[in-house]
Symmetry: C2
C-alpha cells in the first residue's frame, strides 16, 4: 500500500501483494441475504390470507401496511387513462428524456428476440423449437422513496417487446402518495393495468390471482425483504427473476481517466444504499492516490454524502494490482454486476471477461448512462451471480417448446434406438410405444 | 359420458359438457410439492455439515446413507478412464444405440447456441451482448433404480455444447452398486469428473466446494425430495434448473390413430411412477371407448402393470371435448410437459399451442422417441410451468453480459438524458457522473 501525503478517505486500500489480500477481499465481497424466520412466518401468513380472501385481504393489508383507508379494490386500481394523464402532465424536459430512454431501451431489446426455428432431416423428420411469449407478466415496483421510473421502463419494456399479452404492474402508495414519473413510465412501457398494492400481498395476488388482480405467469422487479421472501415462496407457482442483493460496481482503470470522473462513478454506486459496493482496481498506484484525493475532495459536495461515506467505508475498496492480467483475474473472481473498463483499449480485455452483468467500455461510458438510457437493461445479476445469470431481457418473458415431427421412416429408425435404450432402463412401456412405430 | 359395453378401465372419463368438469379437471391437475419441515431441517444440517467439514462430511454421509464403508474421497472418485472402460465394456448394441442418441442430441442442441452480437450507432456508440459459457456445471444423477443413462446425456450434452469448461457429475451408489450404462453415458456426454456421492450432501458439495469436489456455478438434474430441497436451499449461491414435479403427457387425438398405440403412449408416461399423469383428449367419443378397451386389454401385459394402474386411476383421464377449438383451450390451460398431437394435420394446430414443454406431432412421433434419441431435451417443465419455463437447453449453461461502449459524442448526448432522469430520482451522484461526460 502506497503512502500518500494527501488526506485519506475512509475507504479500504488493498494490494494484491499484501499477505492478507485474499482474506480481506473475501470479507469485502461476502454477502448473504438475510432469511429471518419471523419474516418468513409473516409472509406465509399474508400469502395464505390473499389465497383465502382475495380482494378483501388486499384491501385490509393495504390499509394496514400503507396507512390507507380504502374500502374496495376499485380505489386501488389505476386505468390506462390515468397513466396517460401522468405522462401528459410531466414537464416537457422530463417527458422528452423519459421518451428518449424508452425508445433506446426498446430498440436494444428488440435485437434480443430469439426466433422459432426448425430443420428437416433427410428422412423428412422435422425438429425445432417454437418461441412464445408469456401470457401475463407482473411487474413489482417499490413505492415511496425507492420508486424509480427507470426501473419501470427496464422491467416492462422487455415484456412488451417479447409480446406478452398483458402486463400488470403493482406499486404500493404508502400514505396514498403516487409518483407521477412512475405512472408516466408505465404508460410509455406498455403496462396494461396498475394496482396500487405492494408488499407480500401484492406478490401473492399476482401469483394466485384474486377477483380483481389477474394471475400472472412471472413476477419481476425489485422490492424489500418482504417482497423478496414472498417471491421466493411463490417460485414454481409462477416464474420469478433473480432475488437481487446490493448493487455493485467494479471499475478497472489504466490510470488515464480523470480521477474526479472515477470518484463520481464510484459515488454513483455508493449513493444507492449503505450496502452498495464500489471497488476501483488499477495497476497504477499514483493514480489510485489521485482518485482517493478526489474522493476526499468531492465527498462533502454530495447530496447523499452520509450514505456514500457509509457505503465506501463498509464495502468500498481501492485495489492496487500488478498488471492487466491480475486485473482480469479480479474481474472474473468478483463477477461484478457493473464493470467499467475505464481505459484506452477496452476491446483488448473484453474477450477475457468471463463474468460480468454489464460491461461499460472506455472513459466516456459512465455506468449511469446504462442505468437510464443507453439501451441495455439495468436489472443485472448481483453478488457474483453473473457467474451463472444474465441481465433481465426479452428472453425472460418468452419460453420455448421443442418441436418433434417424425416421418414414418424417421420414427421407424428412431424407434429401434429408443427401444434398446428404454429396455436398458427397464422402461418397457416406453420401448413398446416406440416399437409400434417400427416398420415391419 | 358415453356408455360402453366393453370392460372399463379404472381411469376417469370426463366430458367438457359435464357440469362438474372444471372442478374435476382442477382436482386432477392439482399438484403441490411437499415441503416437510423435518426434511428441511435435516437438509439444512447436512449442508452445514458439508460446509464445515468438507470431504470428511461427504465420506461420513455417504457411508451412512448409501451403506458404504469408504475412508476417503479417493474411493468416491471415478476417473475419465473408468468412464471410458464402462463405455467400451457395453454390449455392442447398447454402445451403438447410446452413441446414436448422443450424436442426435448433440446435433439438435448445437442449433440452440446463441451468438454474441453488437451494433454500432451513427455517433460511433457500440451496444451489444456477449455470450459466455459457465465455468463449471454440476450434473446430479439419481442412483439405484432411477439411474437413467438418457438423463446423463440430456443434462450433460447441452453443457458440453455450451462450452462449459468443466462438467462435474455426482451419482450415489447405494450399497456400492455402479450402473455401467450411466458411466458410459457420462463418457459420451463429455463429463470431466464423477463423484459417487448423492443426496443433499452432494448438492452442498457442488454448491460450496470441498477439498476434492470443485464448486460449480449451476446444478442441474433430477433427484428425490432431499435433493430437491437442497437445490432450493442453495439457489442464489449457485444457479439451479427447475424443481421437477411428476412427469405428465397430454395426448390429443383426432380419432385416426391406432387405439393400442395411444394406450401404450399413455402407459409409457404412467409407468414412471404412481404420481405420473397421462391424459387423452379427443372430440371422438367412440375413439375414446376404443382406447379405453385397448387399455383394459394391454394392461395385464405390462411389466410395470401395478405402477401404471395406480397412476391411471389416481391421475389419468380420458376427456371428451366438443371440437378442435376446445382441445386447444385444454392444451393451453393444462400447459403439459409432453403434448402429443396425434392427428393428420398437427401443423394446423401448432401456432395456437401457447404452452407445452415438448410437442410430438403426428401419429408416428411417440413421446418415447423424444425421451431417448430424437434430439430435443427430455428435461421439460412440469405441473403447468410450461406457462413460463423452457426445456433444458444450451442457454441454461451460458449467460450474457451487456456491452456498452459510448463514443465521446454518444456519451455527451446520453449524459443529458441520464442527468434529467437521475435528478428526477434524486440520485445526484448518478447525474453528476453522467454530466462529466457532456461536452461543453
Amino acid at each position: 500500500m502506497s503512502e500518500t501525503l494527501a488526506e485519506t478517505a475512509d475507504i479500504a486500500r488493498l494490494s494484491t501483494i499484501d499477505g492478507d489480500f485474499e482474506t480481506r477481499l473475501d470479507a469485502l465481497l461476502a454477502w448473504e441475504g438475510v432469511s429471518d424466520a419471523e419474516i418468513h412466518r409473516r409472509v406465509d401468513e399474508i400469502i395464505a390470507g390473499v389465497r383465502a380472501h382475495g380482494d378483501k385481504a388486499l384491501v385490509e393489508y393495504s390499509n394496514r401496511f400503507d396507512r390507507l383507508s380504502v374500502s374496495s379494490m376499485t380505489e386501488l386500481t389505476l386505468s390506462a387513462e390515468r397513466l396517460e394523464q401522468a405522462f401528459i402532465g410531466l414537464p416537457e424536459v422530463q417527458r422528452a428524456a423519459l421518451s428518449k430512454a424508452a425508445e433506446r431501451i426498446r430498440a436494444y431489446h428488440a435485437r434480443q428476440k430469439p426466433e422459432s426455428w426448425t430443420y428437416t432431416e433427410a428422412d423428412g423428420t422435422v425438429l425445432g423449437q417454437q418461441v412464445m411469449p408469456l401470457d401475463r407478466a407482473g411487474i413489482y415496483v417499490p413505492g415511496g422513496k425507492a420508486a424509480y421510473p427507470s426501473s419501470v421502463l427496464m422491467n416492462a419494456i422487455p415484456a412488451h417487446v417479447a409480446g406478452v399479452r398483458e402486463i400488470v404492474m403493482v406499486v404500493p402508495t404508502p400514505d396514498g402518495v403516487l409518483n407521477e414519473l412512475v405512472l408516466a413510465a408505465a404508460h410509455l412501457a406498455g403496462v396494461d393495468h396498475v394496482f396500487t398494492i405492494g408488499g407480500a400481498q401484492a406478490v401473492a395476488a399476482l401469483a394466485y390471482g384474486t377477483e380483481t388482480v389477474p394471475r400472472v405467469d412471472k413476477i419481476v422487479g425489485p422490492g424489500n425483504t418482504y417482497v423478496a421472501t414472498a417471491k421466493r415462496a411463490v417460485f414454481g407457482q409462477v416464474g420469478i427473476d433473480m432475488i437481487a442483493g446490493p448493487s455493485e460496481i467494479l471499475v478497472v482503470s489504466d490510470g488515464g481517466t480523470d480521477p474526479e470522473w472515477l470518484a463520481m462513478d464510484l459515488f454513483s454506486q455508493a449513493e444507492h444504499d449503505e450496502d452498495a459496493q464500489a471497488i476501483l482496481v488499477s495497476w497504477d498506484a499514483t493514480h489510485l492516490d489521485a482518485v482517493e484525493a478526489a474522493i476526499v475532495r468531492l465527498l462533502p459536495t454530495l447530496e447523499r454524502e452520509a450514505i456514500v461515506r457509509q457505503s465506501l467505508s463498509r464495502r468500498g475498496a481501492l485495489i492496487h494490482c500488478h498488471d492487466r492480467a491480475e486485473a482480469i483475474d479480479l474481474i472474473n473472481r468478483i463477477a461484478p454486476e457493473h464493470l467499467e473498463l475505464s481505459m484506452a483499449d477496452p476491446e483488448a480485455l473484453l474477450p477475457e471477461v468471463r463474468h460480468a452483468g454489464a460491461i461499460f467500455m472506455g472513459r466516456y461510458t459512465a455506468e449511469a448512462l446504462g442505468d437510464y438510457c443507453a439501451g441495455p437493461n439495468h436489472v443485472l445479476p448481483t453478488s457474483g451471480t453473473a457467474r451463472f445469470s444474465s441481465p433481465l431481457g426479452v428472453y425472460d418473458f418468452q419460453k420455448r417448446s421443442s418441436i418433434i415431427h417424425c416421418s414414418q421412416e424417421g420414427a421407424s429408425e428412431l424407434g429401434k434406438v429408443a427401444s434398446i435404450l428404454a429396455r436398458g432402463e427397464s422402461l418397457t412401456a416406453h420401448a413398446r410405444s416406440a416399437e409400434y412405430r417400427i416398420r415391419p
